[in-house]
């Protein structure tokens, strides 16, 4: 009898996944066994887990850069520069969300442990997506990520909007997952494999006489992924879910879920289906243009700051798609830069929103921001930096991010989307200006003269986000170098 061959396992490459999911399970176990858990423990645990992963990505990065990308576990999982970079972004988002969560839970008088456990699980799903070397593994990661986020959205027990958001997100999300799965099935039918390397190898070496099935598969995959990253016209859930879900969870959705979704999109479209770029590029370009225009335009019509940022996150998704549709190395690395910067912008902005919303997580109207500069100049100043960053003002990280995707689009000669993007950016600037006007140029409403208490964790998040945004704006070289080394590669087959 031949010896049983087990697939090769590269343990160091699995470390982030193991730490995140292990941390989540352990926390769940401890919380259900120990009756009176110290209140600070779940947060500290989660932050520590996130930091361990973040630190672990440093040696992992060096190793990947020196040894090259590897595929293991029977070609199911891979590790390359993009995996490590996306893992680091997700870990950052986990730390930020956990720091925001505790003061939020205390203020809203909500039970403590579940949020952290689900957050860690969701992050583990994101890491799986970023390291998937097989479409089925990618789907698994997506489901782990999504299901945890469905529950997270419903976490505010007493807010009916929170429940509504979760139900909407769940129903539409399940729908999108079905699309994705069907797409995977069709691609399997067309190419005979679900492994990315084999699909791309097959497509590179074979001319399909009838490519209808493949194209349908690509289309369905695109729909499923576009839903996750909230691209128009698959965005309808976003404003309601963002408005209803607890604010720290929204920070995670905007930063973490979007990052994982785009990481998956790059692996599937640019890397796996790169040979058929001419087929999917126009579709992605249209998605990008529609997202930017609709996101920016509808954001202008909002009066609720949280909804404004929800629509602006749709516009940001459109900008990121601009980098995807370029289907080039420049485009791909620009997407990573954008995701990194957007993670800072989104966590920082939602940290401010969480603070201003007050007890009940309800004060999201522009009125709540009126005269903020007079009441709390530092908080208003920090929010200004973040909003200007989102608007893409020079010498902020937001400009560097936008410049990257625009350069990729121009290099790819898709001038029309680039022009749409700049027009949308100008419209979106109005949204951020409205918030600035409210903060600086209007007097505070008579009943909101009290100061918002900014907890230490929130301070840390806002401060780090602002510092990061300005640092990247002034010396972007290091991030651009990392991102250009992080372009995903397929190995094995």
């Amino acid at each position: 009898m031949p010896p049983l061959v087990t697939p090769e396992v590269i343990w160091w490459a699995l470390l982030p996944l193991l730490v995140l999911s292990g941390g989540g399970f352990l926390l769940l176990t401890i919380a259900s066994l120990v009756r009176r858990l110290p209140e600070a423990l779940p947060q500290a645990w989660t932050v520590a887990t996130g930091l361990v992963v973040l630190i672990a990505t440093v040696p992992m990065w060096d190793r990947v850069q020196s040894d090259g990308p590897r595929s293991f576990l029977g070609g199911m999982v891979a590790v390359d520069g993009s995996t490590v970079l996306v893992t680091a972004i997700l870990a950052m988002a986990v730390v930020a969300t956990a720091l925001l969560a505790r003061p939020y839970l205390r203020r809203e008088d909500l039970p403590g442990v579940e949020l952290y456990v689900l957050l860690l699980m969701s992050a583990a799903g994101g890491v799986v997506m970023a390291s998937a070397d097989d479409l089925i593994v990618l789907f698994l990661g997506l489901e782990i990520l999504s299901i945890a986020v469905y529950v997270l959205a419903a976490l505010h027990l007493r807010r009916i909007e929170s429940q509504e958001a979760a139900l909407k997100y769940f129903v539409l999300g399940a729908f999108a997952s079905a699309f994705l799965l069907y797409g995977i099935a069709l691609i399997y039918g067309a190419t005979g494999s679900t492994r990315m390397a084999r699909i791309s190898g097959h497509l590179a070496s074979t001319v399909l006489v009838q490519d209808g099935m493949l194209l349908a598969g690509i289309a369905l995959l695109l729909v499923g992924l576009a839903f996750k990253v909230a691209a128009v016209p698959f965005h309808a859930w976003t404003p309601d879910v963002y408005q209803g879900a607890p604010s720290p969870v929204v920070a995670w959705m905007a930063a973490g879920v979007k990052t994982a979704g785009f990481a998956a999109m790059l692996r599937v479209l640019v890397v796996t289906l790169g040979t058929h770029a001419s087929d999917w590029r126009p579709a992605v370009a249209v998605l990008a243009a529609a997202s930017m225009v609709v996101g920016a335009w509808v954001a202008v019509l909002q009066t609720d700051v949280k909804r404004m940022l929800a629509y602006s996150s749709i516009a940001h998704a459109g900008f990121i798609l601009l980098g995807v549709q370029a289907a080039s190395e420049r485009g791909t690395s620009a997407v990573y830069v954008y995701l990194f910067v957007y993670t800072l912008l989104a966590t920082g902005s939602f940290a401010v929103i969480t603070t201003v919303a007050g007890r009940g997580d309800a004060a999201h109207g522009l009125g709540a921001y009126r005269g903020l500069a007079r009441r709390q100049p530092v908080l208003a100043g920090a929010f200004t930096v973040l909003l200007l960053g989102q608007a893409g003002v020079p010498f902020t990280g937001g400009f560097v991010a936008k410049l990257g995707v625009l350069a990729a689009a121009v290099e790819g000669r898709t001038y029309w989307v680039a022009m749409v993007a700049m027009a949308a950016a100008a419209v979106a600037a109005f949204v951020y200006l409205r918030i600035l006007v409210a903060m600086y140029l209007e007097d505070p409403a008579p009943d909101t003269d009290d100061r918002y208490e900014v907890p230490t964790g929130t301070r840390l998040v806002i401060g780090a986000a602002c510092a990061g945004v300005l640092l990247i704006g002034l010396v972007p070289g290091f991030l651009l170098d990392i991102a250009s080394d992080a372009v995903p590669v397929l190995v094995g087959g």
Binding site: F395, V410, E411, A418, M419, M422, L433, V437, P476, G477
Partner: protein
């Protein structure tokens, strides 16, 4: 002199210092202890004085013999991935705009107190100065764009927070107009760099001189890219019909904001046309010149007519800017040495005289709390010195011979006359109208019987006089003896015109110096062939 010559050979990094010093000053202002509010203005003024001193040093150390060259060059790679570098340099075109910026800021900071939120006001002012100087000395397209865009933020806050009643609207309009205008320029810049890299097979670069000398774009492409630049500059200038943000922004801005807006920020657009329009796209500039000449002329007449009808003194000055900038556009697109030089000189002149006008209007407003012309009157009796100063500045703005405005306007008209005779004739109408609206406004504000508070209006204080003095000296000096200015500008302008001649087939500088072929190019040649 030997010391200075040596300094010019081995310049200390003066251009980066011009950016870093105001930015550092802004940071310092932001972190000054709260208990010492009197330090804020001191630090701000001191910083701007240091910058002013450096710009004057620049003027002195500028090598007239190499006038056409880029001087004080500083090069430092910034975003290597995209080939973007901090490439700063000065030539005769930008030199006086930098000096103007350096001189106006301390004057404004000294002359005008914000009234509230001093810390933020001074910090934004200094950041604005850094941004504006960045625009004038950036020789890398991307750095230019960054500075061009980033000045919007301080100006937005200056108009919005320290402006008059309707300032939030004006500030937002200003930001959105100018940002939307320059949005496409970024695409244009990127397209230019990528197409150049493709054509030459080299790396991505945004180096202005390299791109301009290579001229690697096809004619049609270059025209499209030129349009993306032109839109941005046209909004910034502003050229009719994109000017609607300007009267609002000027009227609602605080005095300090108006002075900087009129004195310096309006030059960003016209400077952009010279440096990035004509130099990068000579063929396209020549091709589209009739459009801009026409719009410039319309601006001159329209601005003057609308200014005549204004009831608000500040708005009147704002519309007079539209007319003056029309002259600058006219001169620029005449595409000959006189026209361009006149336009350039007029940028500096307009900066000096309009800044002074806005300061004076601000002083009147401070005393009378109104800018409405019909509520003022007879101020001359109460404030004879103020009236005298106003007269001088106004006459400079009208273009009276002997004052600075005349030299620039005259050169513009000569240049336009040589290129397009009838346009010059029509533009002269604008000069007449300028005399009309300014003198009429002067008459209504300063002459006649003084009623109510107008009779007791205090005259110019010593401090105000001292602040205005440098501007008045410049107005007279540049009118009587403009040679030092012109001789520094001329080599660069000549080089620019030569550059256009080289790169545009069949284009010769429209000039009357060498005889018959005045005006419309080929017409003169045909006439010659008939003999």
């Amino acid at each position: 002199m030997a010391v200075l010559a040596a300094a010019a050979d081995v310049p200390f990094a003066v251009l980066p210092a011009l950016l870093v010093v105001p930015a550092a000053g802004a940071l310092l202002v932001a972190v000054l202890p709260r208990r010492r509010p009197e330090l804020l203005k001191l630090v701000a003024v001191a910083t701007s004085m240091v910058v002013a001193a450096m710009t004057v040093w620049l003027l002195v150390a500028f090598d007239v013999d190499r006038g056409a060259d880029m001087q004080f060059e500083f090069r430092q790679s910034w975003i290597a991935d995209l080939g973007i570098q901090w490439l700063l340099a000065v030539d005769g075109i930008s030199l006086f705009l930098i000096v103007l910026t350096g001189l106006l800021f301390p004057i404004v900071l000294l002359a005008v107190d914000p009234g509230h939120d001093d810390r933020a006001y001074f910090a934004w002012m200094l950041l604005l100065e850094a941004g504006v100087i960045g625009v004038f000395c950036a020789m890398d397209l991307m750095v230019f764009f960054l500075c061009f865009e980033v000045v919007l933020v301080p100006m937005y806050f200056l108009i919005g927070r320290w402006g008059h009643a309707n300032s939030a609207y004006a500030a937002t309009k200003f930001f959105l107009f100018t940002m939307a205008g320059s949005a496409l320029m970024l695409i244009g810049i990127l397209a230019l760099a990528f197409l150049h890299a493709d054509a030459t097979g080299g790396n991505l670069t945004f180096d202005l001189v390299e791109l301009a000398e290579a001229q690697s774009l096809g004619t049609t492409t270059a025209r499209w890219v030129f349009l993306s630049f032109a839109l941005a500059f046209a909004v910034k200038v502003p050229i009719f019909p994109l000017h609607t943000w300007l009267p609002d922004a000027h009227t609602e801005a605080p005095t300090g904001g108006s002075v900087i807006l009129a004195g310096v920020l309006l030059k960003l657009g016209t400077y952009g046309f010279l440096r990035f329009g004509l130099y990068l796209f000579p063929e396209a500039s020549h091709f589209f010149a009739p459009v801009f000449l026409t719009l410039g002329l319309v601006g001159i007449i329209y601005g003057a007519v609308v200014a005549t009808m204004q009831r608000d003194l500040k708005r009147l000055v704002a519309y007079s800017s539209v007319a003056h900038l029309g002259f600058i556009v006219l001169g620029t697109f005449a595409l000959n040495t006189e026209g361009i030089e006149g336009g350039l000189l007029q940028m500096v002149n307009h900066g000096v005289s309009t800044a002074a006008l806005f300061l004076l209007v601000g002083m009147i407003y401070e005393r009378r709390h109104t800018r409405r012309i019909d509520e003022l009157g007879g101020l001359q009796k109460a404030a004879p010195v103020l009236a005298a100063v106003f007269t001088l500045v106004m006459l400079s703005s009208i273009g009276l011979p002997g004052l600075n405005g005349f030299v620039g306007e005259f050169l513009v008209l000569v240049g336009t006359f040589n290129a397009h005779r009838w346009l010059a004739v029509a533009a002269t109408g604008g000069v007449v109208l300028a005399a009309l609206y300014l003198l009429w406004a002067y008459q209504r504000v300063f002459h006649g019987p003084a009623e109510g508070g107008n009779a007791e209006m205090p005259d110019l204080k010593l401090r105000e006089g001292l602040v205005l003095a440098p501007l008045l000296v410049l107005i007279v000096a540049m009118g009587v003896y403009p040679k030092p200015v012109i001789e520094r500008m001329e080599p660069s302008v000549d080089a620019l015109v030569a550059h256009i001649e080289i790169h545009v087939d069949g284009f010769h500088e429209p000039t009357s110096r060498f005889g018959a072929d005045i005006g419309v190019g080929e017409g003169g040649d045909d006439a010659g062939d008939d003999h």
